[in-house]
Amino acid sequence: MPSKPLTLRILDIVSVIVLGISAYIALFVAPTELVMGDVQRVFYFHIGTAWTALLGFILAAGFSVIYLITKNLLWDRLQVAAIEVSLVFFLITIVLGSIWARPAWNTWWTWDPRLTTAAVTELIYIAYFMLRQGIDDPDRRARFGAVYALIGGLSAPITFFAIRLFRTIHPVVISGSNPEAEGAFSMTPDMRTAFFFALFAFTVVFIDLFWNRIRLGELQDKVEQLKLKVTM
């Protein structure tokens, strides 16, 4: 297995640095929010992971289509990497969302469209891996994975809009001030800096983890092939 390319080594280091800077800005440069206090700072990481996981999700659905057309297993490998990294990122999104909700709105969970869709998407990802686990043939595994990722990729946005449209019967979380209940608060320029830098940082981290995961997938495929050859 060829050793790590230099670009990737550099990217590893850059990711750590960029993430560190983002955390610093979020924790020390951005001002403390007036109503919620310090917990609001988790918002930057919450959105950072959410946005990149969403990107990964869309990518994965795209990879599905390409794989189903070309039947080239490379796209399957890309898809697995995208979904795995997105799964980890969405987990962080959900947990941070919950932690933010607790002191802000006195509840561990809100059934608002974003958080709920994140949870549903997470379940789709988990189901994706459970599906793949139950299949031994790599070709069939790739095909089924692609089909499910496509179906999931179409369904989750519809779920989001459905929840939004139907403004459900679930009790609306009411807190002291209404803007916070919708998750909106006005951002000062420093907050905006923290916000956009977090987006940038997590995109870099996502690409780094994604690339690393792809290489792992390559190694996995090579080992499987060699295993078959040797044990024949």
Binding site: A127, L131, L150, G152
Partner: protein, 242 residues
């Protein structure tokens, strides 16, 4: 018991009318499933009994006064349909695989998607029959009139979406090692828009809400049905090829 494709009426080999070929294939699959089920009734009785038991469980799980119960009727109904539906989907596909019918169908010179449509129609038929029986029983048990045309329409649209995606996913799950257990795990997250819209529309109809409120979720149901059946139609080939 029909367990060989040879028992089914042969598909016409008219190359001049490919669409007629397709429809005949769909009809053949549907006919096979319906007659097989008519003789054994194993799927149907299982789904029906399961539905009634679910309603029973909900009765004890949600000890409600009459007023509160009115707000959950729609939800309980759809939860029942969702759970009983997986039973039917699982068994329907498992029967195909176990008796080798699927292989037989695949050998026939028909478009693979004809098999998909045939299975969707037969699964839909089973689900609708079960629902039609559950409705009056629920009505009687809870003293609520469920035979409103709007509600029947919503049940139809919701079942179509559910079965459309469910048939595709069942075709996949039956080929994995985990089989039955996997279908609900795959299906439920993806079918949430159907449940959302169906419950919203159903409760609206039962509460006598305005047309505008009900039309929106119904439109969503229609959109979902169209999108997902189209997608399933396109990818079904990849799911059953050897």
């Amino acid at each position: 018991m029909i367990d060989k494709v040879t028992d089914v009426k042969p598909v016409s080999n008219s190359r001049t009318r490919p669409s007629g070929n397709f429809i005949k294939a769909v009809a053949a699959v549907l006919w096979k499933d319906l007659t097989a089920e008519f003789r054994s009734r194993e799927l149907f009785s299982a789904m029906l009994v399961f539905s009634l038991l679910i309603i029973l469980i909900f009765n004890f799980a949600l000890e409600l006064d009459i007023k509160t119960r009115q707000s959950v009727n729609a939800g309980v109904l759809w939860a029942t349909f969702a759970f009983a539906g997986t039973l039917g989907l699982n068994r329907s596909m498992a029967i195909e695989k176990d008796r080798g019918c699927l292989d037989g169908l695949l050998l026939a010179p028909v478009d693979r998607s004809a098999i998909y449509f045939g299975k969707v129609l037969s699964n839909l038929a089973f689900m609708l029959i079960v629902e039609i029986i559950v409705l009056p029983i629920y009505s009687v048990l809870y003293n609520v009139n469920l035979f409103l045309p709007g509600l029947l329409l919503v049940i139809l649209l919701g079942s179509i979406g559910y079965v459309g995606v469910g048939t595709l996913l069942a075709a996949m799950s039956v080929q994995t090692r985990t089989r039955d257990i996997l279908l609900p795990i795959l299906l439920f997250p993806v079918v949430i828009p159907v449940l959302l819209a169906a419950v919203k529309a159903s409760s609206g109809i039962l509460a006598g809400a305005e047309l505008a409120d009900i039309l929106l979720p119904i439109n969503l149901l229609i959109a979902y049905d169209v999108i997902f059946i189209a997608v399933a139609f396109m990818v079904f080939d990849s799911v059953v090829e050897e």
